[in-house]
């Protein structure tokens, strides 16, 4: 496995994130994800195709091939191990780990990462509940869905928030819900689609339909 630049790695990881089971990723999709102009995407897709990391034909979109997928999993592994380290050992809070891991993930010394993994006790999930690929690139399947679709009595981890307004953040803060919070849905009411959730050692909370649709969780073993 060769070494790639920070830019190449950020593109590879973003394609990995966007590419679902079948479909192609489009230029505009990736441009939005990476916060760059479509012309820059086309440039990089040519480069990554030349490096045999993806399939790409002009105007037809692109997908990582087997090699590109393997590379992506190693970047994801580094990112999530560092996130775990920051939260577990350095006591960073949920909103701080991602940004720092976004930089640390590009230090790609294999021994460093494998020893870090060992030091951390081979954690299987990062602080957002996302699975950490092992040294061979093996990764648990876990599903990310919105809170209103979470089955009853299933422990899940808050992974992200759809709306980013200060209003929703104020409400989440008030209810003590944050990225990484473990919860389960105890009741669902059909009248207004509100739900009741339980967080360890806290009283039952009521969540409105609007709020539930903006909270995304990871679950599944």
């Amino acid at each position: 496995m060769l070494n790639y630049t920070t830019s190449e790695e950020n593109y590879i990881k973003a394609i990995y994130r966007l590419q679902s089971a079948d479909g192609m990723v489009t230029t505009n999709e990736l441009a939005a994800e990476i916060q760059a102009k479509p012309a820059s995407i086309t440039d990089m897709m040519k480069k990554l195709k030349a490096k045999k990391l993806l399939n790409y034909q002009p105007y037809q979109g692109f997908r990582l091939n087997a090699e590109g997928f393997k590379v992506a999993l190693m970047i994801v592994r580094r990112h999530r191990l560092w996130e775990f380290f920051l939260a577990e050992k350095l006591k960073f809070t949920w909103d701080e780990v991602h940004e720092v891991a976004e930089e640390l993930e590009h230090v790609s010394n294999k021994k460093l990462i494998d020893k870090l993994d060992e030091y951390l006790g081979f954690p299987r999930k990062d602080p957002h509940g996302d699975p950490i690929p092992d040294a061979n690139g093996k990764i648990e399947i876990s599903k990310k869905i919105c809170l209103s679709e979470l089955p009853l009595n299933t422990i899940a981890v808050v992974a992200s928030v759809g709306d980013q307004s200060s209003e929703i953040l104020e409400l989440l803060e008030h209810k003590k819900i944050a990225i990484g919070t473990k919860l389960e849905v105890k009741k669902k009411f059909e009248f207004d689609n509100s739900i009741e959730i339980k967080i360890n050692r806290h009283p039952i909370l009521t969540i409105s339909e609007q709020l539930a649709k903006n909270i995304f969780v990871n679950y599944g073993e």
Copy 2:
């Protein structure tokens, strides 16, 4: 304190390393240190002068100014803290830590470094015996001398090694000399400048001039 690119930081650190109490650093010196061509040095010196990190007049050499020195100390702090982390927590041997720290040092999130420092218990020396600047840039003055200058029958502690090639490390391993090893010089021979040293409970060892010049020790206090 602004952020600097990886390249700028490597140049700043190299100048810090070369610049002694008084004299100027020359273009060729820095070119050799950084393994780049003299023309590249001149380019970067113009850039760092424009950023007000050093004094530089064409053909007259250069020196970090107060601000550049402060920046250098923070890079050195990051480098040595990561080296300590790698040796202490991830069980890297002391000859493996430098290369990895050379990359990690460029992740310049202040909170990351200060929390890492705290997590490590505010270590004062890196695995090579070099002092680690604190969060304010304060650094112990180490009175290091090389083994060939150590007076006879004076107990000293190995603090660092000049050359860090695998060849010298192999030799040091063979002779059971490591950071922290206590020793004293028992004899000096003028013919080839070789010396004989004594390490507690070990037979007398012969050290060549080349080797002695690359072993630095702390003594007295």
